[in-house]
């Protein structure tokens, strides 16, 4: 087991300051407005759901939030700091980790290496001292390895630590991505369709697992998911996107009965 580590970033947050604020974010691809003036904020410790039909702009919003694509307009405030223009690695270092909808593991590397890589910002061994293998560097290497192993254990993959990631079954690849994201010691975890391709039983397990890591690591979670029962059961609040626009925001029961949401999902009567 891993002791819950409170990263300095999450420790500094006050009760009132939202974990992340999306302020009027837009993203245009040529003539397509993929995300259109979306605003919401996620409170610390929340499990926040982001739902909407295919092509609603959910993944684009994640990509903007992690710096992979720049926003056309709007600002992103993370724990009171403007992170709108930061490159992905700086955003990751601030404590925002993510998984990918179309899994993006380091496929040819063993599972253990995948998780060790994600500890990059929390390790400091340099080229010269690392090559020479000074005691402090060796100790850090050992800690990195042990922590990666513990995270693999957490997601139930420790027995496959030395297997190449690309050979894992789909569900295991998704779990490995979560382990890799947790290695960043994030305060905010963005999960892009973590339950995709899982059966009902696995979805229940995943739901319990997300709750557990959320408590254990003091995480705030934003997740994109299509499976409505999972989202309704798991999330504290839900935002609904349709054609890039935020059409509803609130508690699961409220969103479920919102006429605009029903129309977006089922079509107008």
């Amino acid at each position: 087991m891993i002791e819950p580590t409170v990263s300095p970033a999450s420790g500094r947050a006050t009760g009132d300051m939202p974990m992340v604020e999306v302020r009027g974010i837009s993203r245009r691809f040529g003539g397509l407005l993929a995300v259109n003036n979306v605003s919401f904020s996620v409170q610390k410790g929340e499990i926040f759901g982001l739902i909407g039909p295919n092509g609603a702009g959910k993944t684009t919003l994640f990509n903007v939030m992690t710096g992979l694509i720049p926003a056309t307009a709007g600002r992103l405030i993370y724990q009171g700091q403007d992170i709108t223009r930061l490159p992905p690695h700086r955003i990751a270092a601030k404590g925002i980790a993510r998984t990918f909808q179309n899994i993006r593991l380091f496929g040819n590397l063993p599972a253990l290496q995948n998780v060790m890589i994600a500890q990059h910002v929390h390790t400091h061994s340099g080229v010269i001292t690392g090559v020479l293998g000074l005691p402090s560097d060796r100790a850090e290497e050992q800690r990195t390895r042990e922590k990666a192993m513990a995270l693999l254990d957490l997601v139930g993959l420790s027995r496959r630590a030395h297997e190449t990631a690309i050979n894992f079954p789909y569900g295991d690849q998704r779990r490995l991505e979560i382990a890799r994201a947790l290695a960043l010691e994030p305060a905010l975890l963005l999960l892009d369709e973590p339950a995709a391709g899982m059966n009902t039983n696995e979805k229940h397990e995943l739901s319990a697992f997300i709750r557990r890591i959320c408590d254990q690591f003091h995480l705030t979670v934003v997740l994109i998911e299509h499976h409505v029962p999972l989202v309704m059961g798991l999330c504290d609040r839900i935002a609904v996107l349709n054609f890039g626009q935020l059409i509803a925001l609130g508690a699961p029961e409220m969103v479920k009965n919102d006429p605009a949401v029903i129309e977006a999902y089922l079509g107008a009567e």
Binding site: F106, H120, E141
Partner: protein, 320 residues
């Protein structure tokens, strides 16, 4: 034995130098960057050594050139290569894949044309009569062999530490590496610079070893040769480039010796002697088609380390 080393001194030292030049290409490749810039830095290092030893450190021509000065030139070449690599690398490494390869070829070509036209590099004639620190060529091993072992140790360790892992992450998926907190630009430039330093240092000692240095050192041909060392040797473990560089440098000589074997039909002997480049090219094609990972692959070592699991189904003999 001593006879063998003395007559083949040039070849043996050349093999060691080739191994290091292959490693200089392997370093950026660790971070997924196909850079063919090594010959450019090799040429730069050579010119630095040539200019220093003929114009700056004027020593008694009847005495061997002092070895500490050679080492000093190598250090200067390394630092200069690092500086140039950072200046070139920051803009060039924004390009990916084949575009980076093209940009680095252009870089090598720019340096070549510069060296042809500058006064300090001796123009087309180049710089000749570079003083010798050793009396025989095989003695260069005293410098180049430790250098090779040092660079092999460096790369071996690099693959097992934080920085090397960051390189591998970028090679595997640059976007995911960024999202995991690895700075892609910094690490790509770092890998590129490491390769440049090695090529520059090798160039400095090569200038002494070859005695003359001109614009024929560090050309597009050399880029392709080094690439062949890495691709045929193997691009997934540092032993691949080392062995590839050595084997492909020795190959023409081996063929030449073999062609003198008695009893060979004259046409075959002649082909082995004169058709070296054809055989070389043929090997390149066959190698890349049938062994895309090269001759030396990481799997080779894993299999040896871990014994094969015992068969699960008992054989008739075992059951009896």
């Amino acid at each position: 034995m001593a006879e063998f080393f003395n007559t083949n001194g040039f070849l043996i030292v050349s093999m060691v130098l080739a191994a290091m030049l292959a490693l200089s290409l392997y370093l950026p490749l660790m971070a997924g960057q196909l850079s063919l810039a090594s010959p450019g830095f090799y040429a730069l290092g050579g010119y630095i050594a040539a200019v220093f030893s003929t114009k700056v450190f004027v020593t008694d021509p009847n005495q061997p050139f002092p070895i500490p000065l050679v080492l000093l030139e190598m250090a200067v070449a390394g630092v200069a290569s690092a500086g140039l690599a950072i200046i070139v690398g920051v803009p060039a490494l924004r390009l990916r894949g084949i575009y980076l390869a093209l940009a680095t070829i252009a870089f090598v070509e720019v340096l070549r044309v510069l060296s042809l036209n500058l006064d300090i590099t001796g123009g087309a004639v180049g710089i000749f009569g570079i003083p010798q620190p050793f009396t025989t060529q095989i003695e260069y091993l005293w410098v180049v062999l430790p250098l090779l072992l040092l660079s092999m140790f460096f790369v071996y360790r690099l693959e097992r530490i934080r920085v090397g892992r960051a390189f591998t992450a970028i090679r595997e998926d640059e976007l995911a590496a960024g999202a995991m907190g690895v700075n892609p630009t910094f690490n790509k430039v770092l890998a590129f610079t490491m390769g440049a330093v090695l090529a520059g240092v090798v160039g400095a000692i090569s200038a002494h070893f070859l005695n003359t240095w001109n614009a024929r050192q560090g050309t597009f041909d050399a880029s392709i040769s080094y690439l062949a060392f890495v691709l045929i040797g193997g691009s997934r473990t540092f032993l691949g480039p080392v062995l590839g560089g050595m084997a492909l440098t020795a190959l023409p000589e081996v063929l030449r010796i073999l062609s003198d074997t008695g009893g060979l039909p004259p046409w075959l002997g002649g082909f082995m002697k004169d058709g070296r480049l054809i055989i070389f090219g043929f090997l390149l094609i066959v190698g890349t088609v049938f062994l895309p990972q090269g001759f030396v692959t990481p799997a080779l070592f894993e299999r040896r380390r871990k014994p094969a699991p015992p068969p699960t189904t008992p054989t008739p003999e075992a059951a009896a």
